[in-house]
Amino acid sequence: MTGKKGGAEVTLEEIRFSYGEMRMHFDLDVPASQIAAIIGPSGSGKSTLLNLIAGFEMPQAGKVLIGGVDVTRLPPAERPVSMVFQENNLFAHLDVEANIGLGRSPKLKLTAADRAAIADAIARVGLTGKEKRKPETLSGGERQRVAIARALVRNRPVLLLDEAFASLGPALRVQMLDLVKALHAETAMTVLMVTHHPEDALHMDSLLFFLENGMIAASGNAKDLLSETGPEALKRYMGTTA
């Protein structure tokens, strides 16, 4: 399924995982080509959820299905997902082009087609002219653009954003969300994003999963959940009830 246009359905079936004292239990289904935002208090298991999908954590029971295929036992590199972290997405000693190129070949053996794809991705995230720059000379937003460009050249049907824009200012964050939205419209990949800002979900008009104590406490359309009639737990988290 790697390389195919479009998104893939992401399903967590009866996933059980414990992290120290914390026991988690996830059941989740994100249909193909959807955008889903994951919110919740810190320590509720948001990042763990993404780590389970990406393969950085191994569940104690249950299955991870991507595009209907069981990937529970696959190592991270073989899963059809790309993940963007909050920081440390780039190798500081490699320039922008090489950092993106790693998405095509982990040995940096790039063909002409690879180079074309990299140049295209750089253009699409708006970094043309900065191919030879090192990460230390880029702004925080530009670095995340490089990470997204790498996700583009990897061309996997699922994109995971782990608080990828948390360290950016409000205006920049909205810019980055718009970029993701535009790329989503283009590639139709499935996007799961962990965020601290519920308004991100509204901005993206996405699905919303609200996590509490290692469980999905509420899910549905962001617009419905975040409205007056939304569930109590979510309102408590938002601080909108007395």
């Binding site: 393969g55 190592p75 500081a92 982990p106 040995k107 230390e136």
Partner: protein, 560 residues
């Protein structure tokens, strides 16, 4: 897809790196540990074996002579420690009270020098000042004082030990003083504290915390000091265990005595290290030339004068022997020295053996560091460290328990059963020096390795970068600098080593320190001074390279 057990699945927390790959890092770490264990264990086994055999006469050798030597070993170390640390106290106080005078940074840099200097070179520097034909004797003669200093014996040993350890103690004490919160200095200025109460109320509590550690460190260095006692000690009355071991093996070929002496030395170092553990280790953390504590009090003119004279005296004490070494070295006939084949051979031998030892040391240290990180990050949450992981953690520093002379003596005694021990000189020099440099190399490599792994493990796992590709693309660019620093440092240490080569050296294999010792022994003082200068320049050059490398801004953070 492997079938998954439903329901009662095995609870498992996977490391960030899938375990499907060959465990290259733990294996490399195990090899490095095995090397250390074999080196130290082989020597200890050999000693125990000899001691258990009756005919070696090891038990008979526990005689009055041995006890006298052991007593002197402890006595000189105790006196050296008291003098070094005691004299360092006022110097550190004075340097801390005066944060801004021209030359302060230079003095602090100078105080880092003696530790980087091969002991043999420093000994020549000291004799050039305090020796029978030294600077002081000549000055006295010029002014017609009938005074000829004789430093051979306890005096010389103490002088040299203080020369090495006073600057070290000053730096460590300064680190302690720098840890005092700045508000205290404001307070002391506001309350108008005098020098006495400042010392009692502010400085002493900070110093007292690090003092036992500093004294333990200096004491240990003096108990195991070999070169200084060998060259400045005077006959059987001023001999330490390490030198006696060397003499028993080298001159008398008295195996029984060597075994008895070595066991005593080992027991002594173990006992001291045990005490040392109770005191804790001094750190040089927080000490840097750049950061200065702001001091607010106004010193009385008298105090100022005393402080500055203390600093000047300490400066002269450290600087004079170094200057003497350089000047008497420059007088040497380099034209003739460099026309000698033996000199060139000694330089080449030193560089080759030192380079090989440094390379081995760095490779093994990297293996230990990488294995430790791999095992630690693969450890299940909340589980205790395994025995293997603890070994990877502390294995390198444990080698310091066994002084090089003991390792050398043990293997010398063991190899004698199978072959001519002198044939093994290069191998012994390389492996002992590599092992001795490992604790330092590990300390230089580990922080970078650990932070880089924390930063890159997930990314590499996702992008499928592993094995050699990872080493080439990710690890090497980041590790190049600390690796070269560790290499230069290890090589400088190896170049100055005399202990192992003194045991195993022969006409066939001569390093620079060995040749230097020979020339000193045959009273070719000028040659010795010239060789010392060559050796000093080589060692210091490498140390400066290492220092420059570690000071130069480590790669900028990803986030500005």
């Amino acid at each position: 897809m492997p079938g998954r057990a439903e329901g009662g699945a095995v609870p498992q927390r996977m490391s960030l790196i899938p375990r499907t790959t060959f465990p290259a890092k733990p294996l490399a770490g195990a090899i490095a540990l095995a090397f250390l264990a074999l080196l130290a264990g082989g020597a200890l086994f050999s000693l125990a074996f000899e001691a258990s055999r009756d005919e070696s006469g090891a038990f008979a050798a526990f005689d009055a002579y041995l006890w006298r030597v052991a007593r002197f070993t402890l006595l000189q170390a105790l006196l050296s420690t008291l003098l070094s640390v005691g004299l360092a106290l006022p110097v550190a106080r004075a340097l801390h009270a005066h944060q801004h005078f021209i030359g302060r940074a230079f003095i602090l840099r100078l105080f880092a020098l003696p530790l980087a200097l091969p002991a043999l070179v420093a000994v020549l520097g000291i004799t050039s000042i305090y020796g029978r034909a030294g600077f002081i004797a000549k000055t006295a003669h010029y002014f017609d004082f009938g005074f000829t200093p004789d430093i051979y014996g306890l005096t010389g040993i103490l002088l040299a030990h203080v020369f090495f350890n006073l600057p070290l103690a000053v730096r460590l004490l300064l680190a302690g003083l720098d840890s005092i919160p700045p508000d205290y200095w404001k307070l002391s200025a506001q309350l108008g504290m005098g020098s006495g109460s400042r010392f009692r109320l502010i400085e002493w509590p900070a110093i007292a915390r690090s003092l036992p550690g500093i004294m333990g460190l200096v004491f240990m260095l003096c108990v195991t000091s070999f070169t200084i006692v060998l060259t400045l000690g005077g006959g059987p009355r001023a001999t330490t265990l390490e030198v006696a071991i060397y003499q028993a093996l080298h001159y008398d070929f008295d195996i029984g005595r060597a075994v008895a002496l070595t066991l005593t030395q080992l027991a002594l170092t173990l006992a001291i290290l045990f005490l040392f553990r109770l005191t804790g280790r001094p750190t040089e953390e927080g000490f840097s030339l750049a950061i200065t504590t702001r001091r607010y009090e106004k010193l009385r003119p008298g105090e100022r004068l005393i402080d500055l004279s203390v600093i000047l005296l300490a400066f002269l004490f450290v600087a004079l022997p170094i200057a003497g070494m350089v000047i008497s070295g420059l007088v040497a006939d380099f034209g003739r020295l460099f026309s000698e084949r033996s000199v060139w051979r000694a330089i080449a031998t030193s560089l080759i053996l030192g380079g090989a030892a440094a390379l081995l040391s760095v490779i093994l240290s990297l293996a230990l560091v990488a294995a430790r990180e791999a095992v630690a990050s693969g450890r299940k949450m909340g589980r205790k460290q395994s025995f293997f992981e603890r070994g990877l953690d502390t294995g390198a520093s444990l080698i310091l328990v066994v002084p090089p002379i003991i390792i050398g003596a043990g293997w010398f005694i063991l190899l004698r059963h199978f072959a001519d021990p002198f044939d093994f000189a290069p191998w012994m020099v390389i492996s002992v020096n590599a092992a001795m440099a490992m604790p330092f190399a590990v300390r230089l490599l580990r922080p970078t390795w650990d932070t880089e792994s924390a930063r890159h493990n997930r990314l590499c796992a996702q992008l499928g970068i592993s094995g050699w590709t990872r080493l080439r693309l990710v690890d090497w660019p980041v590790l190049r600098r600390p690796l070269s620093v560790a290499f230069a440092f290890a090589m400088a240490l190896s170049l100055g080593d005399l202990g192992t080569i003194a045991l195993f050296g022969s006409d066939a294999v001569q390093t620079l320190p060995y040749l230097l010792l020979q020339r000193m022994g045959s009273y070719r003082t000028l040659d010795a001074a010239g060789l010392a200068l060559i050796l000093g320049v080589l060692s210091l050059g490498l140390m400066m390279l290492a220092d420059r490398g570690s000071q130069a801004s480590p790669r900028k953070e990803e986030r500005p």
